[in-house]
Structures are given as C-alpha cells and as structure tokens.
Symmetry: C2
Subunit: 355 residues, 2 copies
C-alpha cells in the first residue's frame, strides 16, 4: 500500500523528532514538527494506520510512537532530505585530509578518528586489497650478520623487516638473493609461494644458509596480513547515548566491534560515492540487530578498496552521517588514488538493503 503524502510527512516528522529526542513521539508534537493544519486527532488516526502498517511502533498503549526498522528504511530511501555539509564541516574534513601521514594504515586510522569526531559515533575502517603482491624486493646489507628486507607491495605500501642472523653472509649473497626474489616472487599471491618455489629459489641463489626461507616467510606473513585491516575508534561514544545506558548492552556491542574479524563480514560492495545504510535487523550479526551501520567505500588505487563507516543506534541522524561519510570517502579516494573523485561524489546516493 502506498502511503499518502500526509502520512509520509507524519512519518518523517516522527523519525526526525525521535532522532532528536530519543523519546516516543506524540500526536501533538508531530503536528507542530510537521507544521500540519489538521488537528492532533486526525494525526492520531494516521499514526494508528502507520502503526498497523508496521512503520511505527508503540512501546505501550498510551505512549507516543517510535519508528520501526521498516519506518527508518522508508525514511532513508524516500523521505530523508539531503543534508548539505556546512562550509565548516567540509573545511574541517579537507584540512584533516591534508596532513597526510607517511604510513597508509596510520592515515586510514586517522580518518576513522575524524569520522568519529564528526559524527560522534564509533567509526570503523576496513581496507581490503583484492590481491596483494610484491612489486619489488630490496635487501639492504647492514653488516655480516644483519640486513633489512624492504618490500614494495601493490597499493604502493612498503613493508620492511630487520633480520639478525647468528651466522655471517656477504653482500654478494644478498644481491643474488635480491635478484632471484625480484625474478620469481614478484606479482604472485601468498598462495603461490610453495615449498617448491622456495626450494628452486634457494638453488638459483646458491643459498646454503637458509636465507631464502627467512625472506620467503616474511613475504608470506606480509602478504597474509597486508591484505586487510580493520580498525575501530571512538567506541566510548556509545556510552553517551541513552540507548546504551545499560553498561552490559554497550559492553556487548563494543566487544563485538573490537574483534576485527567481525567487521570483515560486513557487506562491502557499494560503488564509490554511494553510501550503504543497514538498519537494525537488516544487519546479519546478532549484536548489531538493534543498531545501525552506515558505510561508504573509498578507492585506494591499485585494486585496493576500503570501507569507512560508523555504528550507532537505529535512531541515528542518517542524513548527516551519510553526507559526512560520503564526503570523507570521496576525499580519501581522491587522495589515495591520486585522481579525481568518482563522478557520483558530492551527490549523495543511498543504497539500501532492498529485499
């Protein structure tokens, strides 16, 4: 059943009022907020109808109405007014993005903090590379017992490790090894590094001391961990919200968030610039069933993509949060991929979880 114009206006008023106040909304309040000309009694009839249709809920007889997940969904998909960022906000984001940090993961982490500050909700970042490989190897000879492995990965991240060994080797040995690794370990994924490959590299380099396997295991470790990374910041912000006045509830959610493995299972695929909103029970994870998650993807170039998002109560200022995340993700894409932001950038597009 299609809702009437007035019903939509009422629904919007309820959602927005509830976002502000966190308390059930009554008919009189709706009348004022929606600037309707009809009387509270009429609104009560409409509210009853919206409740029957499942857009609203009533905590108990004689309380005001609270939006259901279905109500929020409709609001997000159709009723939400696009929120323009103020100049202050865009400026704050731009400035933050300016002080680019040397290390990529630090940068991403900082952007997470920024999202927390801007939205006052916990922020999460997830970065995933489709397939990380080594683009280039360097081995820096320090002294006869130690050297540094430097790996340049796809996505232009650099990883390194200092290795001390109990026996000595020559600079020449390292040069040979370097050549061998550059020849046969570049451009391949972790799974392609087999015992045979290591063996043959060892023979090719004439390495009798096991240096090859030391390097290879670092490569494997690096490729295994470089692919993804998840990070959460600002969890404590949940404690300010009335829906988490029960410490236990907050504890469960924070615990869930702090396990990176959980985050990885969030649905990722949106186009850059789009924002994905998951409302309450739309979340797969039990722990998120009465929270909402807003996600935006960014493009980090070289097959790398990432997600930045925030978690909050279903009563969340979706339009502000979505606008901010979209802007941040766009800025990040621009910064990382070096190019212009994706075309949709700036124009907010919400992708839902349409069933």
């Amino acid at each position: 059943m299609e809702l009437s114009q007035r019903q939509k206006k009422i629904l919007r008023a309820v959602v927005e009022e509830y976002i502000d106040s966190a308390e059930p909304v009554g008919s009189r309040t709706v009348q004022q907020r929606a600037a309707l000309t009809c009387s509270p009694a009429t609104i009560r009839n409409e509210l009853a109808e919206l409740t029957r249709e499942g857009y609203l809920d009533q905590p108990h007889t004689s309380a005001g109405r609270v939006p259901t997940a279905k109500g929020y969904r409709l609001y997000v998909n159709e009723l939400m007014r696009e929120r323009e960022l103020t100049d202050d906000e865009t400026e704050a984001i731009n400035r933050k993005l300016q002080d680019r940090v040397a290390q990529l993961d630090k940068l991403i982490e900082n952007v997470g903090h920024m999202a927390t500050e801007l939205t006052s909700y916990p922020a999460l970042t997830i970065s995933a590379a489709a397939a990380v490989t080594v683009k280039r190897f360097d081995l820096i000879y320090l002294d006869q017992n130690s050297f540094i492995i430097v790996l340049l990965l796809t996505g232009d991240t650099v990883k390194n490790k200092l290795v001390h060994l109990p026996f000595s080797f020559s600079q020449n040995t390292l040069q040979r090894l370097s050549a061998v690794f550059n020849a046969s370990f570049t451009g391949i994924g972790e799974e392609a590094i087999t015992a045979e490959l290591i063996d043959s590299a060892e023979r090719a380099a004439g390495d009798t001391m096991g240096l090859t396997s030391v390097i290879a295991s670092f490569v494997i470790e690096t490729l295994a961990t470089a692919g993804g990374g998840a990070n959460v910041s600002g969890e404590a912000n949940l404690l300010k919200l009335p829906e988490f006045k029960d410490p236990d509830k907050a504890h469960r959610l924070i615990n869930y968030l702090s396990d990176a493995a959980n985050l990885a299972s969030l649905p990722g695929g949106t186009d850059f610039g789009d924002v994905k909103v998951l409302i309450g029970p739309e979340n797969a994870a039990l722990e998120l069933k009465d929270s909402s998650v807003v996600l935006a993807s960014y493009n980090a170039g070289d097959n790398m993509r990432g997600i930045i998002g925030v978690v909050g109560p279903t009563r969340m200022d979706y339009s502000a949060v979505a606008a901010k995340l979209s802007y941040i993700a766009g800025g990040l894409s621009k910064l990382l991929a070096g190019g212009a932001p994706p075309s949709g950038y700036g124009k907010l597009m919400i992708k839902g979880d349409d069933k």
Copy 2:
C-alpha cells in the same frame, strides 16, 4: 602507630573480601575470612580502631567497612601475599610472547592485549626511547619519479616512505644524497636538524630539485613520532565492573585513557622487574583519582624502555595483577633486549608511591 598482628590480619581480610565482592564487609564475614578465634564483637572494636586510623571507611553508619587508599597502600606494601602464577598462566604468557611479530609496535600492542586478557582490566603500553636517532639511510631508486626512503633507527626499528615526485631524477642523485645523509644526519636528534644543516646537505649533494628537504622532513617527522607511543586496549572491560555501572563515569575514564598524551604523564621510572602501584588519589590525574594503576617496566634494548600497565578500580586484585605484569614485562625484556631478564625478575618487588 603500628598495627597489631590481629589488626593486620583483619585489614587483609577486609581488603581481600572487598576485592572479591565489591561490597562493604561486615564483622562476621571478617571473622570467617580471617579464620579468627575471637568473636565478631571484638572484631568490631578493631574495625572501629582501623576506621579511626584511616585504613577503612564506612559508607554509612550501619554498613560494613570498605578499604581506603591508605588501607590498600598498607595492604600492597606489607600484607599482600605473593601470588604465584599458575603453570597455565605462565605458559599462556610464554606462548603469546613466542609468536613474535615483525613490527615492534604491533608486538607491543599484542602484549597489551595479552595483559587485558590475563587481568581483564584495560591495559596500556607506553614506549619511549631516550633519544632516537637515525643509524643508517638508504634510498631505493624505483623509477625516475619515485624512490623509497628507508631509515634504520636506534632500537633497530625500520621506517620507510615511498615518495612520488612530479619531476624526474637519476639514480646517481639518490646515491649522492644517500651518502650525504649517512654522513651528516646519522646519530643526531630531531632538534639538531636545522635549516642550515639541510641547506649544507643540499649543497653537498648538488641537489637543485629539493629532494633533500623532502627526505629531511620525513626524517624529522619520523624522529618526532618514533620516540614514544602509547596504546590502550580493552577499555570495554571496565563496563563489566560494578564501580562503572554509571556509563558516564566509564565514559570519562575511557576518554581519558584514549588520549595518548595523558598516558605519557604517568610516572615511569621503576627498575625493570619492579612493579609500581598507584592507588586512587595517589594518581596525579583527576580522572584516575578513584582508580588504580599498576605499572611494570620493560627493557627494549638500545636505550629504549617501555611500560606496560593496567587500569582498574581501587578494588583490584593487586597481587595477581602485579605478578602477571611483572612476568610479562620480564618476558618482554628478555625478548627485546635479547639477553637474560633482569636479576629481580621472577621475584616480585613492589614499589609504592611512598610519601
């Protein structure tokens, strides 16, 4: 005034019971817990005396007793029985320390997580190097527009950065720069890198493109941030505790902890192997006035030292926490400094905040 044997026994019983139950302890409970032969009435007299002396407090006229900071202090200094770690516990710690991670800061972070898991309190780690300098420079030429800076720092940490530039340069230029930096930027602190030094390096390398300043600014940034690092994990564990059933209180403390700058101001100087306990008001920071902090130092070699600690309510199982932290710090020292743990290691020594 010196306390009698019996009074000490009673004080210990009150503290330990309160640690377990978080509720005011009455005379009967003390009798049972301390296995005393005298009657509750006698114990009441002693409790009254201990309260007069400031070791205990009474929330209200007819409640049991709660230890004061002074009471905890005496307990920690004199009454606490040394807690031996169980085999399970030492084994768990050892195992965790085994899977050494490539990056030092990741390792430290993991150890923090371990401390959280073992004590179920939020853990903090602080690492500080007396004076970080660069031991060695390498510049890896990638193509005519990009290269990697690799810095080997004291403490054997390696930092790197990939640099893309809008103009081209030759491999020779990099080699010259590398030589110049190795000659004049090694072994000096951040503050010694002056504009003059950079100028003269630029001339020495015959660099007309500003590469020198790109590298120098990375060096400055690295030295500035490499010195210290602080990290907190497991803040959410506070929420399980009855003293943080008020989300606001928890929020304030977590906020305080999440600002790394605050942690840096914690008193650091203890000998390795010692454990420092700061009880309630002994903490300088207002936010910690009714929490306790237990700290242990570890030695990371090469002038680097660090602190690992946990934060909890004043009602904290000091003996278990101190024993665990001491063991972890010892293990970490051993791992990082490569040598044997400091002599005091294993034998727990508590250093207080004696005024």
